[in-house]
């Protein structure tokens, strides 16, 4: 915006705005920036020691990284998170993509109601979902099983897939399917050859959202997981609540790196989708 012709009051306003934004961005990033260096703390507490501030090499160490890498519990938790995350994502992606195809059809009956139902796991407070699931899955014998957690996490992940794929489909030119149909392609062929390649970035980013949801979810896990299903967030929860140790800062740093990778992937996908959809 060009406002250079403005009087001094406006320039001051602009400086104030910029300063405020700088502070707000600091607020946004501070938690992430502070945790990474603290994970190299040589002491077992959550504060910067004087040695760390003096950059004394002895005050910095890989102690906590060694500890989590050498700890079976963290390794098992990571494996559980990965397994439950991948399985629930696969389930959520297939169901969510199919449903989004249906929802995007102009002929879909009761669309609002169906959409509301499908989105409900996303807006319902997790504590309520977890409570209900705990009782119901217990009666089915699914509490304390991987299967139960996979189903629960898939249910929580589907709204994200529905939303991203619906968005991708809304940018989709329906003339393409009509053209394909007029050339004699069956519905399955149209989906595979025409629709899927174009909405693929939407599907993948929905899947990433679903995965991130499962990978970060702790409330349902708290209610439904036994010792064999402990996930990474559950282990971290224990770390913060029950037995406090900076080892969780090392895990946190790993999760931050993971978040950066996720962010870059989703961003890349969005760009590709934007380029493909011509938006």
């Amino acid at each position: 915006m060009n406002m250079t012709a403005a009087e001094p009051g406006q320039r001051i306003g602009r400086i104030v705005h910029r300063t405020a934004c700088a502070l707000i961005f600091t607020f946004l990033m501070a938690p992430i920036l502070v945790i990474v260096p603290l994970s190299f703390n040589a002491e077992p507490y959550f504060t910067f020691t004087e040695g760390m501030l003096r950059l004394d090499p002895d005050a910095w160490s890989l102690r906590w990284y060694r500890q989590i890498l050498g700890d079976d519990a963290w390794r098992r938790a990571f494996a559980n998170s990965l397994f439950i995350g991948v399985a629930s994502t696969a389930l959520a992606t297939v169901l969510g993509t199919l449903a989004a195809l249906g929802l995007s059809s102009p002929d879909m009956p009761a669309r609002r109601l169906a959409m509301g139902l499908m989105i409900s796991p996303m807006v319902t407070p997790l504590i309520i979902s977890a409570t209900g699931m705990f009782f119901f899955y217990s009666t089915l014998g699914l509490s304390q099983t991987h299967a139960g957690l996979i189903l629960a996490h898939a249910a929580l992940g589907t709204p994200f897939v529905v939303i991203t794929v619906t968005a991708a489909l809304s940018a989709f030119d329906t003339n393409l399917t009509r053209a394909a149909a007029s050339l004699g392609a069956g519905p399955l062929q149209i989906f595979r050859r025409v629709q899927l390649p174009l909405i693929a970035p939407g599907v993948v980013s929905g899947a990433l959202f679903a995965f991130a949801t499962s990978f970060d979810e702790v409330v349902v896990v708290l209610f439904m997981a036994g010792e064999d299903q402990r996930t990474l967030p559950r282990q971290m929860w224990g770390g913060i609540r029950e037995q406090i140790s900076p080892a969780i800062l090392a895990v946190a740093t790993f999760l931050i790196v993971f978040a950066v990778l996720l962010l870059l992937t989703v961003d890349g996908l969005r760009r590709r989708a934007a380029a493909a959809g011509g938006r």
Binding site: N2, L38, F223
Partner: protein, 394 residues
């Protein structure tokens, strides 16, 4: 239904069925629990039968004592005594130990007369209030938990009254949850609007970078962010260190910023800020920059042009973002649980408490039902302002 309509419905059917079974039915069972509890009714059918015609004041009679003795013993053998006793205790405190102790002692008495035996074991059996409590606890369907969640109680004459002042906690809690969520929404708006504006009007390269700064916390594990707020805000934490270093605060006068409401508000504002920035930003991007220039050229100063021309156009984004933040805030559990201490707890934390610690599942269900109703109303509003249509995840 037309063929394409059937096809579309068939595509959505698997997910509708899946969400129905894995999510909606579980919620429904939780809500049923808030009004339905068969534990006592199933364990003491005969006793309750005997009490059906009882006037509630006189002695319930030998038959009732005999039935109770037999059924309490059976409950002990079947290991359901604990849950039976805990239900009764919720109607009348102190009854748990009476019931559990009596069942244990009853083993030593092969024969009646049961009235004498039970009075011998515990005087409380001679108090009609004990039997009234059993009768109340034996109702399969009850509004008790919802009354309790509204700080009300049913008196023995059937009328409804407020709880004694020191036990009125849930209405203030609901009020606290709503006001704190509103405050957090306001903070998110105050912090989110300026940066959304900055990003929306920055050159593309820088906008992408700044947007990345908003999105990184969004993608970072919630537990990681919450942990870092503990690290930042604790008494010997980074923020207090800085305040001491610049001399704003004395070293022995460090401020308590975490494990109280301050911690909850700060951490939740941080966690929810991206949910405000994103919808507001996407609305702002759609506003043609020429408008403000036109307003300026017509002689409107920036504040006036902003208020008259710009702000009204962003209102739908502000509305969607605010509702989203508010919906998420009132149901938040993890962050208050970890950084809220006692004073920073919200309604979700009490649901968790009654689920996991007091095991008052009916009350947990009732509080959950109330929270769910709030969310449902807000969600309908959210859908009304078109938030759902425009929701784009990134």
């Amino acid at each position: 239904m037309t063929r394409p309509a059937r096809r579309a419905a068939a595509l959505t059917l698997p997910l509708v069925a899946f969400t129905g079974v894995t999510f909606v039915i579980p919620l429904a069972t939780m809500l049923v629990r808030s009004v339905h509890d068969p534990v006592v009714a199933d364990a003491l059918p005969d006793t309750l039968d005997r009490l059906r015609g009882w006037d509630g004041q006189s002695d319930p009679g030998e038959a009732a004592y005999a039935a109770a003795a037999r059924e309490l013993l059976r409950a002990r053998e079947e290991r359901t005594l604990g849950r039976v006793a805990s239900r009764m205790n919720r109607v009348r405190s102190g009854l748990r130990s009476v019931v559990v102790r009596s069942a244990r002692r009853l083993q030593d008495f092969p024969d009646g007369p049961w009235r004498a035996v039970m009075l011998d074991i515990d005087d409380d059996w001679g108090d009609p209030a004990t039997w009234r409590a059993i009768r109340t606890a034996g109702d399969r369907f009850t509004a008790r938990h919802y009354l309790n969640a509204a700080d009300l109680q049913r008196l023995s004459d059937g009328s409804i009254a407020r709880q004694p002042p020191d036990q009125r906690i849930y209405l203030p809690l609901l009020w606290r949850t709503l006001t704190v969520s509103l405050g957090i929404t306001g903070l998110c708006l105050a912090l989110g609007y300026p940066i959304a504006y900055l990003i929306a009007h920055a050159p593309p390269g820088r906008a992408g970078f700044l947007l990345g700064l908003v999105l990184l916390p969004f993608w970072t594990s919630l537990l990681v962010r919450t942990t870092s707020w503990i690290v930042l805000l604790q008494t010997q934490g980074v923020v207090n260190d800085l305040l001491v270093a610049v001399g704003l605060v004395a070293d022995d006068g460090r401020i308590a910023l975490v494990y109280n409401m301050t911690g909850t508000v700060v951490a939740m504002t941080h966690v929810l800020l991206p949910f405000m920035v994103l919808p507001v930003y996407s609305i702002m991007r759609a506003i043609p920059p020429q408008q403000m220039r036109a307003a300026a050229s017509l002689g409107a100063g920036f504040p006036r042009a902003f208020l008259r021309v710009y702000w009204p156009q962003t209102l739908s984004g502000v509305g969607a973002g605010s509702l989203l933040v508010f919906i998420l805030a009132i149901g938040y559990y993890i962050t208050p649980a970890l950084v809220g201490g006692q004073s920073g707890q919200l309604i979700s934390n009490f649901i968790a408490y009654h689920m996991q610690t007091s095991l008052n599942w009916g009350l947990a269900g009732a509080l959950g039902g109330i929270l769910l109703a709030c969310v449902a109303v807000l969600y309908l509003l959210f859908d009304r302002v078109g938030g759902l249509e425009r929701m784009r995840l990134r």
